[in-house]
Amino acid sequence: MSDRNFVLEVEDLGVSFDGFKAVDGFNFYLNRNSVHVIIGPNGAGKTTVLDLICGKTRATSGSIRFKDRELRGTREYKIVRLGVGRKFQNPSIYENLTVLENLELSHPTGRGVFGCLFFRRTPEIMGKCLEIAEQIGLADKLDTEGGILSHGQKQWLEIGMLLMQNPEVIMLDEPVAGMSVRERQETSQLIRKISQNRSVIVIEHDMEFVKEIADRVTVMHMGKVISEGSMETVQNDPKVIEVYIGH
Amino acid sequence: MKQRTPSLHRRLLPVVGLLALSAITASAKPPTSEVNTTGLAVTDDTVTVGQLHSATGTMAISETGSIQAEQLAIDQINAAGGVLGRQIKVIKEDGASDWPTFAEKAKKLLVSDKVGTVFGCWTSASRKAVLPVFEKENGMLYYPTFYEGLEQSKNVIYTGQEATQQIIAGLDWIVKEKKAKTFYLIGSDYIWPRTSAKIARKHIENVIKGTVVGEEYYALGHTQFGSLINKIKLKKPDVIYAIVVGGSNVSFYKQLKAAGITSAKQTLLTISVTEDEVLGIGGENLVGFYSAMKYFQSLDNENNKTFVKAFKDKYGANSVIGDVTQAGYLGPWLWKAAVEKANSFDIDKIAAASPGLELTTAPEGYVKVHPNHHLWSKLRIGQWGTDGQAKVLYESELIEPDPFPKGYQ
């Protein structure tokens, strides 16, 4: 099963809350440098899958292998340090800090206690911040406090904060929810761009957006995978149609 | 302190002397420079003393009586012309049931206010906290509480009983009256109950030849005695010897009664319940139990009748007087006697004059200061009634204070 091309292999993953199986027998393989979208009706367990991968929720069964390393049972911050980044559904940035400080705080240098205490802003770190700021279109907002950015800008900033860590896998939970059409377009370009040298898992409802970005799509329902493949394959899968129409 | 020069004093004297009353006072009034050689807060007309108790916090419950009694004594002394012709002024400080605050306030009184003598403290902990201050700044503390002993300081006069005075005669009496052989010792968890229990145990085991079937201590403020009471029931001691204090007291006696342990079935002797505590416990929960104290409000003598009347006139007919309250009342009178004997407010002279002082007007009867700065006193056994008053059943001879009792350590 272990194909070198998969950066993340999730097998037979399951979790239950008081007997309710939120995710059950979930299998998922993530190619390198690709965008993999998970779709499914509300309550299908999509966000829970991300929670399980990044360690926020503990799985009750199965395995999560990242580059041949088991992530199950690893602490969250260690998973992040290994190279798995996670964006939350609601923009989660530090409102009291400026854009620059938000980015700088996400830089992987000096994340231990003493590293933090003796952290200095080096030109390299500033350079990296500027580079990312350019990428997410916030280069002219470096000194703006996070709290006063627009909704879309907050989402981008959070993506930018993930990029600062230079992860191999990025997980985005509904990155375009609440965005304007133009912002969506920019976001989809951003996702294409960042997936050139890393893999991205996206949870999304907006089918147009999914079509634009997805290399591969997984459809979830009631905690299980019901279909997987390219967007076209999935769209024509009768099981998928039934779930969506039935819903 | 401004001190008038003797010449000025002499010039004023005839003017003052025009009034007969003043003349009497003046003749009894030695010049300030003579009676105060150490820079204390003494003027020609006044002498300032300190009073240091907890007016707030957990100990306020207990210390209120001492505050009142000391104030009463000072008022009476002032009304009778004061000490060496000087009216007593009191600076009251609140120790707030907090030992560092006691130390702080003691220092303030002695250093900033320059008072030499302080009436105050209640718990052992507060006394231990202020003791180094009094010894270093050379003040005099009149300490009213019955306590554990093991201490003797030139800077303290202990007007309450030390442990052996309160314990030994009481145990002897209960053994004689009740033929008691087995004892259960229960106390709050600090030094006075523990030391008292130790002395009691030594006396029971070595002198009475009885047995101690249980000995336990509960944190101050403990309110649940169910398990303890069951242990008592299991051991069936002849006597429960109780040294429980504070709020725990109330829970302890209420729960004893509710568990069917009443005086009809069980003898209980306590050295920690005075009339003050009974107010909180309720006389009906104590009926028939015994307390060993040197003083009860119901003592039948003339001194006490006058004292009780004065106290009630001042603080209301419902007020009660316990052992420590009476001991607090002794403080100012003993100090007055010492000052007058020494003809000085200087602490060293007061300390030297105190041993051998006698007070025949004490509500408890006759007391005498021992060279170890404790008082000779009697022990009495009272039996509690529903009205919250004790019937005095027994009175010992005068007992010599012995803060470091041989054979009891």
């Binding site: 990044c54 980044g85 530090y94 000096g110 952290f119 | 220092k107 902990a125 906290a129 030094i191 470091f404």
Partner: protein, 391 residues
């Protein structure tokens, strides 16, 4: 210069710090008699706890109601050393067993308990003063923060620990001095700590250590670690998923706050001359939180001033109106919490914040007009930007 900048983000901060130093190191010693100054020293020893609380509670959002535990541990370590020194066989000759502390003798202990032995060494005792609280805090903190115990639960559990320790000390008076505490401490390495001269020396020692601790705290607040703490308080998950070990960061701050408290406890003992469980339990622990809240939970200097002001108020008011004092204290406290959550420092700083905000906006505008071209320029520009005012 960079170091200075890390300590003080604005000129105003540097000035207020200088004023504070002048107040406690020059004005008060000149203005007050030694008795009052000694009191100030006692209040300043609570200031160490307050500094810890600023880091832990203000910056990190973790309210500990058990700081008295660490204050007490530090104090007891120092008191044990001093007591052993005061209990030499000559001055304790009237005891049954000379050479051990008097309270042990009263409790029929005939041999020094094993855990007292190391406290004969001054080096051991003075290290234990902050290492022991630090170690215990580290263990407690690690156990709790790793399991994500926070907020109210942490507060209540630490409160229970404070109760356990004070009951434990009370209940083992042969070993601890019990409720009376460890009293009658006289000399430190042969130097009488009760004399006026010694009290001056100890006051200045306390001031010096307090200022050093305050600077350390300010340094921490202004480094990346300080920003991580704030970030953790407001967006815990984001910090965790930026690869920080949140539990370890919190444990570190908790241990640091405990060490500071322990140091405060030791200085308390040296200046007051005794230690008792009444400084360990629930009430002192909450009171120290009160001092911090009144002064300002976000401001190091504010919190120390809070200790001074509340305690002076307590002393002055309880001398004049003992009854009114609790009303005043309770009322002040409710008012501070409800209307001035940032305490006195917050009130004083209102105008300062406004100014700082304006200037930040100004720099931001300038940068908009002239976009930074190179990283060096950007970093230089960034270093110039005043941070949103640290209260």
């Amino acid at each position: 210069m960079i170091f200075f900048r890390t300590l003080f983000k604005t000129k105003g901060e540097a000035i207020s710090f200088a004023v504070f130093v002048a107040l406690i190191a020059i004005i008060l010693p000149l203005a007050l008699p030694i008795f009052r100054l000694n009191l100030v020293g006692k209040y300043l020893s609570y200031g160490f706890v307050a500094i810890g609380l600023v880091l832990l509670w203000g910056r990190c959002g973790i309210l500990s109601l058990g700081q008295g535990v660490f204050f007490g541990l530090g104090g007891y370590c120092m008191a044990m050393f001093l007591k052993l020194e005061a209990s030499d066989p000559v001055s304790t000759s009237i005891q049954t067993t000379p050479g051990i502390p008097d309270f042990m003798d009263w409790n029929q202990i005939t041999q020094l308990p094993w855990f007292w032995e190391p406290f004969k060494s001054f080096t051991f005792a003075s290290c234990a003063v902050f290492l022991l609280p630090g170690l215990i805090a580290f263990i407690i903190g690690w156990a709790m923060f790793r399991r994500r115990v926070g907020g109210v639960y942490f507060a209540i559990i630490t409160q229970a620990i404070a109760l356990i320790l004070s009951l434990g000390i009370d209940g083992n008076q042969g070993f601890t001095g019990g409720r009376n505490g460890i009293t009658d401490l006289k000399t430190l390495l042969g130097w009488d700590i009760r004399t006026t001269g010694a009290q001056y020396t100890l006051y200045f020692l306390c001031v010096f250590l307090l200022l050093a601790s305050a600077l350390l705290a300010k340094y921490i607040i202004n480094t990346r670690f300080g920003r991580v703490l704030m970030a953790m308080r407001d967006r815990e998950d984001r910090v965790r998923f930026s690869g920080y070990d949140v539990a370890m960061c919190r444990t570190f701050v908790f241990a640091l706050a405990a060490m500071l408290s322990g140091l405060g406890g030791a200085l308390f003992v040296l200046q007051v001359g005794f230690m008792s469980p009444s400084l360990v339990g629930i009430i002192p622990s909450i009171e120290m939180v009160i001092f911090t809240a009144v002064g300002g939970r976000l401001s190091v200097i504010g919190a120390i001033l809070g200790c001074l002001i509340v305690n002076f108020g307590k002393t002055a008011f309880s001398e004049a109106y003992p009854d009114a004092w609790l009303y005043l204290m309770g009322g002040t406290f409710i008012a501070v919490v409800m209307f001035f959550p940032d305490g006195l420092a917050g009130i004083l700083d209102k105008s300062g914040t406004l100014k700082a905000k304006l200037s930040t906006l100004g720099t931001g505008l300038m940068k908009k007009l002239k976009p930074a071209e190179s990283a060096e320029k950007a970093s230089a520009a960034v270093a110039e930007i005043p941070k949103t005012a640290e209260p």
